[in-house]
């Protein structure tokens, strides 16, 4: 079988030649998935040169249609060889058949979202196109900082606090879910919370993050020893995608873009991104075990307490990223952030939880439905506190992303600090 794809306006036409049977169905599915990944959500199949269509082929066509609908895309077959039309009609699947190539559907901005004509922002990072949408121009995020425990002091009972993390809260820090403080003492790990879902990496030897989801009456709660929690509406949605195949955006560039878009010195952001590579660390041993005599912050003892990713991890996966950043070291938020080596003067704190890849619809998308969909389909693969590895020569660099959606807003200067 031969598969060729060409773009016709906004529509991607995939031409198949030969037999579409069990042996070749996966190849077609893979090709279409790659197109969706690249952001093409309107796909048509040119089946005029198809010689044979088996049930396995039909199944794949239905699967492609479902996947495209999931990202608000369209899929149809046309033109098609007469036997293809007949086969599909007999199977009651004529919905798949198109009579003519439909006109390209322009990406419809959702209600409330209006693209910002900000040429400077669009061109800011070479290789990546940024597409800012205004959601609620004056919205601000209120941040609460729980600064009970500071690394790497021994953990005291009053360091721990239980906080609810329901919608629309989001946040990051160190914590664990459990009955009471003593129960979680041995499992405290890095966490990410957004849109009613909380994921954390227990530090008791587990290699997969655990997670809680908000249901009708269940509100996720976490015992935390250190956390930054944001609450409020996002002012902007920043969509970004590669200008050419192979392009990606570094985390620090994304920070810069967020600060420009929100026109603020301090901002909070929640992103759903396709990962090019993540660099980070995670707690390997619970801070609950630190004794007075320990020196966890020193090498080599640090090895016991933190695990470093060692290479750029989780390429081509999807990540839910929460970050707080500010440019002004006088801002109250700055005390809870660490410097970003690539951008002198910039301070940030970011955690990311990783999932298998799942395409995101184009245009303006809703944070809560998108995050819910991510957690619904898959269990998380990993969780990292993102680090920029700026060691000369051997450094892994910073985390970078291929495309994604970033909800962001300025942070209210009044920071509530709970110690």
């Amino acid at each position: 079988m031969k598969i060729e794809s060409r773009s016709q306006g906004a529509v991607m036409v995939v031409e198949v030649n030969g037999r579409l049977d069990a042996a070749w169905a996966d190849l077609l599915l893979g090709t279409v998935r790659d197109l969706v990944r690249e952001g093409h959500d309107q796909v048509r199949l040119d089946a005029s040169c198809l010689e044979y269509l088996s049930s396995a082929g039909i199944r794949t066509l239905l699967k492609i249609r479902r996947e495209l609908e999931a990202v608000s895309g369209t899929f149809g077959i046309g033109p098609a060889a007469p036997f293809v039309q007949e086969t599909l009609r007999m199977s009651g699947l004529e919905v798949l058949l198109l009579d003519e190539i439909p006109p390209a559907v322009e990406a419809q901005p959702a209600a409330g979202g209006t693209p910002v004509a900000n040429e400077a922002a669009v061109a800011a990072a070479a290789g990546t196109r940024f597409e800012p949408h205004v959601l609620a121009a004056s919205a601000k995020i209120t941040v609460t900082a729980h600064a009970g425990w500071r690394p790497w002091q021994p953990l005291l009972d009053n360091h721990c606090i239980e906080i609810p993390l329901p919608r629309p809260r989001f946040g990051l820090g160190i914590g664990a879910a459990g009955r009471d403080d003593s129960d979680i003492r041995g499992r405290l790990g890095d966490f990410v919370a957004a849109a009613g879902s909380v994921a954390w990496l227990p530090s008791d030897g587990a290699d997969r993050p655990d997670y809680l989801e908000q249901n009708e009456r269940f509100l996720p709660r976490l015992h935390v020893i250190q956390a930054l929690v944001g609450e409020g509406d996002f002012s902007h949605l920043l969509r970004f995608s590669p200008a050419a195949k192979g392009d990606c955006v570094n985390l620090s560039d994304l920070y810069e873009q967020v600060l420009q878009t929100t026109r603020a010195d301090a901002a909070a952001m929640v992103c759903l991104v396709e990962v090019e590579g993540l660099v980070g660390a995670a707690l390997a041993r619970s801070p609950g075990w630190i004794k007075e005599s320990d020196q966890p912050g020193q090498f080599p003892e640090l090895r016991e307490w933190l695990s470093f990713c060692g290479e750029r991890v989780h390429p081509q996966s999807q990540a839910l990223l929460v970050a707080f950043l500010c440019r002004d070291s006088a801002h109250p938020l700055a005390a809870h952030l660490t410097p970003v080596p690539a951008r002198p003067g910039l301070l940030a704190h970011a955690h990311a939880v990783v999932f298998p890849f799942r395409p995101l619809p184009q245009g303006v998308v809703d944070l809560e439905t998108s995050v819910a969909a991510v957690f619904e389909d898959n269990t998380p693969l990993g969780l990292l506190h993102l680090i920029e590895d700026d060691r000369p020569l051997v450094g892994l660099g910073e985390s970078s992303f291929i495309r994604g959606a970033c909800w962001c807003a300025p942070v209210h200067p009044a920071l509530e600090i709970i110690t």
Binding site: D207, A281, A284, Q298, L302, L306, F308, I387, R391
Partner: protein, 270 residues
């Protein structure tokens, strides 16, 4: 009981090919314990076994079996205490000699070999009887050259030979790795039976996480010439193959955390 104290070995020292194969290994295998060594290629697990067997001299450290120091004993002398099965089924038997003759050799392991006939009548009867317990039908082929047998059969016989006179320590060097899956399972089962029956102290190198989880009482994880983790008791009973793989991953990641990374993390973490 096997007691290893600070064992060190560097191959090709002071050359570009220098390999630090064993970097100060301390290990205590109590009497009657069956332990498995797992590790990546080049982690030094086979080297450790060879060091115990006496295939080369150590740079440093001591090897004690049942309280006797054998560090300076040559390989053949250690064989009096140690039974061995190799990865290659051809390595453990003399191919051109008969099954009975091979076993006759093993019957005198650790004893003086005199000018008595190797295969007198009582020896033959004993051989036939114990080979019958293998249930491989080999008792009728005692006078066939051992080279005519399959890898699995040879490995079963090597195992029988290694345990014929109760060894103080049994060394198994990936002894099922070169066999087809069915023979490997049979040999693994035989290994377990023999070790349990005789309550042997045994050290097995294996590539198979499955085997490491199922057979022994203790798992020793090696990486770059060091013992990085041990599972025993309840922890060993709970552990599954994916956990071992995850632990390896952790070890590898831990290794990445050098002082430079530590400085990085100190600045950027928390």
């Amino acid at each position: 009981m096997l007691d290893l104290r600070q064992i060190r070995k560097t191959f090709f020292p002071d050359t570009p090919n220098e390999v630090q194969a064993l970097c100060g290994i301390d290990l205590l295998i109590p009497e009657g314990t069956f332990a498995a060594i797992i590790g990546t290629n080049g982690s030094g697990k086979s080297t450790l076994l060879n060091a115990v067997a006496g295939a080369f001299e150590l740079d440093q450290g001591g090897i004690h079996i049942d309280g006797r120091e054998i560090t300076t004993w040559p390989e053949y002398r250690r064989a009096g205490l140690i039974g061995r099965v190799f990865q290659n089924p051809f390595a453990g038997t003399a191919a051109d000699m008969t099954i009975a003759e091979n076993i006759a050799l093993a019957m005198r392991r650790g004893c003086r070999r005199g000018f008595g006939l190797a295969l007198h009548r009582t020896a033959r009867a004993e051989i036939a009887e114990r080979v019958r317990t293998l249930n491989l039908g080999l008792e009728n082929r005692l006078d066939n050259p051992i080279g005519t047998l399959s890898g699995g059969q040879r490995q079963a016989l090597t195992l029988l030979m290694a345990t014929w006179r109760r060894p103080r320590l049994l060394l198994l060097d990936e002894h099922t790795a070169a066999l087809d899956p069915k023979s490997a399972a049979q040999v693994a089962e035989l290994t377990l039976t023999l070790i349990r029956q005789e309550k042997l102290t045994a050290l097995m190198v294996t590539h198979s996480m499955q085997q490491a989880v199922q057979l022994p009482e203790r798992i020793i994880m090696m990486h770059k010439g060091r013992v990085v983790r041990q599972y025993e008791g309840q922890e060993k009973d709970r552990v599954r193959a994916p956990d071992l793989l995850a632990a390896f991953d952790q070890v590898r990641r831990r290794e990445q955390l050098d002082p430079a990374v530590a400085a990085l993390l100190a600045k950027q973490y928390g």
